[in-house]
Structure formats: structure tokens, C-alpha cells
């Protein structure tokens, strides 16, 4: 029998710490994925994950059951990402290429059936996509990430970002167009 998020929250509030561990296990992959794509570094993504779940645990009693737990969690994670990005903004920017060591180890494993040229081609393609995505403003980037990699609906994204659906669509469209323009230039490379 699998407990729903709300059941696990109730159990946690009743003092069952294991119930919260189950919630963490259920959502850590998504939160890590979101943070990693937002920030581009494994270390930062791990920190954001830790901060997100800690904040969720501390404020669990404030969570209103009428909203989805995942939306609430995504919102906390995005806030943490934005805080970190603001801090990074005051520091010298790092090149995405220098961060490939962090990123690559969590990408597709080197499958036996994949030849070396295929693997290189895939890596190169992933790097170009990553650069294009990182070059976007955070508001556009987060919408693209939630839509493309987390398969959220426009309404869900609007709920997480607390913006109207029309704003979500507008940001998504502009972001996709900017990425497209950038990638079209490099189409020959991809």
C-alpha cells in the first residue's frame, strides 16, 4: 500500500519522521533535476535539495492541503535557486564548459551499444542545449524546465510560479524562441 503525499504529511506531523523520509525519497529526484537544470552544477543542486526539504520539514504545519504538495515543494526549490542565482550574480560567472565534469557524470551512462562517435555526438548536443538553456533569463528557464523535463501543465506551472497562465505561456514562448534562434545557428554542429 502506497501512502499519498497528504497521508505522509499527516503522519509526519504526528511525529513519524520515517514518513517524511518517504516523502523525500519520492520527490528528491524531481527536486534535484529542477535545481540541477536551473543552476547547472551538481554541488549547488544538492545544496538546494537539502535546503528545500529542510524548509519543507520546518514549515510542514503551514502547508495547506488544498494545494499540491509537489507544487509547494517546487516553489520552495525555485525560491532557493533564485536566491542562489542572485548570490552568484555578484560573483564572477563560471563557464559552463568548466562545469561539465559535474554535469556529465549524471547524464546517460555509456551504454555498450552506443558507439564512441554516437556518444560524443550526444554529449556535444547535450552541452549545446545546456548552454542555450543556461543563457536564458531565470524566469524563462524555469518555465521551460518545468514544461519540458517535468511535464507539468500550464496551470501547474502557474500555480508554482504564482503567475497567470498567460504569463507562463508568454515566458515559455519567448524562451523557446530564444533557444531556437541560438540552436539554429549551431544546427550544423548538432
Amino acid at each position: 500500500m502506497e501512502f499519498s503525499d497528504n497521508q505522509l504529511i499527516e503522519q509526519t506531523l504526528a511525529g513519524e519522521t520515517d514518513a517524511f523520509s518517504a516523502l523525500v525519497h519520492r520527490w528528491e529526484r524531481q527536486i534535484y533535476g529542477l535545481s540541477f537544470r536551473m543552476l547547472g552544477r551538481d554541488e549547488d543542486a544538492r545544496d538546494v535539495c537539502q535546503e528545500t526539504f529542510l524548509a519543507a520539514f520546518r514549515n510542514l504545519s503551514k502547508f495547506r492541503g488544498d494545494a499540491k504538495f509537489s507544487s509547494w515543494l517546487y516553489r520552495i526549490a525555485l525560491n532557493a535557486c533564485h536566491t542562489r542565482l542572485r548570490k552568484q550574480g555578484t560573483m564572477p560567472a563560471r563557464s559552463i564548459d568548466q562545469e561539465d565534469e559535474d554535469g556529465r557524470k549524471f547524464e546517460l551512462p555509456d551504454l555498450l551499444s552506443e558507439s564512441v562517435p554516437d556518444r560524443l555526438h550526444h554529449d556535444q548536443r547535450a552541452r549545446i542545449v545546456r548552454k542555450a538553456l543556461q543563457a536564458l533569463p531565470a524566469e524563462m528557464r524555469q518555465v521551460i524546465i518545468m514544461k519540458e523535463y517535468h511535464e507539468m501543465t500550464f496551470a501547474e506551472i502557474a500555480d508554482v510560479t504564482r503567475t497567470p497562465v498567460s504569463t507562463v505561456k508568454s515566458r515559455l514562448y519567448t524562451g523557446l524562441q530564444q533557444m531556437r534562434a541560438r540552436l539554429e545557428k549551431q544546427r550544423a554542429v548538432i
Binding site: T17, R29, F106, D118
Partner: protein, 239 residues
Amino acid sequence: MKHESSNQTGKQTGKCERHEDLLDYLYEEMSSQQAATFAEHLGACPTCTTELQGLQRLRTDLRAWDFVAAPSLEIVIPRSPWQALKECFQLFPLWGRGAFALSAAAATLLMAFGAFSLMRGATVSPANIVAVPSTTTVTQTVALTPEIKAQVEAQVAATVTTTVAKAVEQAVAQERQSLRTQMAAFESRTAEQQVRVQTVARQLRELQTRHDALLAEQQPSLRRLMAEYSDTGNANNER
């Protein structure tokens, strides 16, 4: 969802501004009727068709940056002192917890009994204390008739039994709850593993297809090389 110009299906020659509809169509967030209407529009609007193709290509590119799994994270949730104590208590086996509860109950009763005896001692009137030697006073204070003693013993036994039963019941309930939670976590993990396996299987299939395509692509040049090799061999033999 509002579609500002969903009835526009005519041929578009200039700039078409149906971005929202285009996104709804691209991400399949339209009703089938709206999708059919927009598909009709696409047939007549080269701007939207080009846009759609470009966005579909972009989505394929975006999928290149994928990773199968996140590294295993260690999220440390701080425990309150009460929780830590409770978890420490749960580490003991059931009999240990029962014994602890029994000892605690016995100690409590002993203290209550001691307090009760002291109170009884305190109720003795000062006149008695003065009239009777101190040793006699003590004897009078703690001495119990066999009936009262039997009554107290029965009460103590009943209280201890109830307390122990409650403690055991509570421990069993906690054990059950913990097992249920662990089971749920295990099931959730199994489901995730299945999804991962399916993802890897899908990727393997895709890779196999790409591999086959590459092989098919390379086959003419391989044949040519084989033919060249064969020709060279024949020429050498003739020589």
C-alpha cells in the same frame, strides 16, 4: 482555457500571432475539437506550420540533455530531543521496551506509595507524637493491616498489568506503523526502479535503431571496400 482566435482557420499570409494556441497544440493541452480546428488552421497558415516544426525540432534537441537518475542524496532532517529519545527507545526489542515500561511503572508506584505513606505519617496528630516514643510512632505510621496490604498489593498488581499492557500495545502499534511506512517507501522505490528500467530499455531500443541505421548507412561503403579488396586479391593472384 481561452483561445482568442480559435475560429481563425483562413489562410495566413503575414505574421500569425496565435502563439498560445500553438503552445497548447504543441503540448497537447487542447481539447480534441480545438486541436482539430487548429490543425485545420495549420493547413492554411505557413507561418504557424513553420513555427510548429521549429518548436518540435527544438523539443527533440532539449531531450538530448537528459539524465537517468539523480545521485543518491542524503537529506538530513534534524530531530527534536523528544524524537531522538523516542527513536532511541524504539531501537530496543519489544521485551526490552516492556521491561523498561514495567520498571518505570513500578518506580512511579513506589514513589506514589512512599508519598502516600509520608502523608499518612504527617496526618498523625502532634499530641500522639508527644505522648508516644518516636520509635512507636514510626511503627504506627508504616504498619498496615493485612486487609489494607492485600488491597494495596492488588491495586499495584492491577495498575502494573494495565500499564504494561498499554505499553506493549503502544509498542506494537508503533512497530506496525513503522513497518507500514517502510513498506510504502519500498513500494515507491520499486515503482521508481521500474520506471528507470523502462527508460533505459527505451533508450536501448533507440540506440539499437540508430545503430542499425548507421550500419545500413555504412553497408554500401563496406561492400565497396570488400569489392576493392577482392579485386586487389584477384589482381595479386593473377600476377
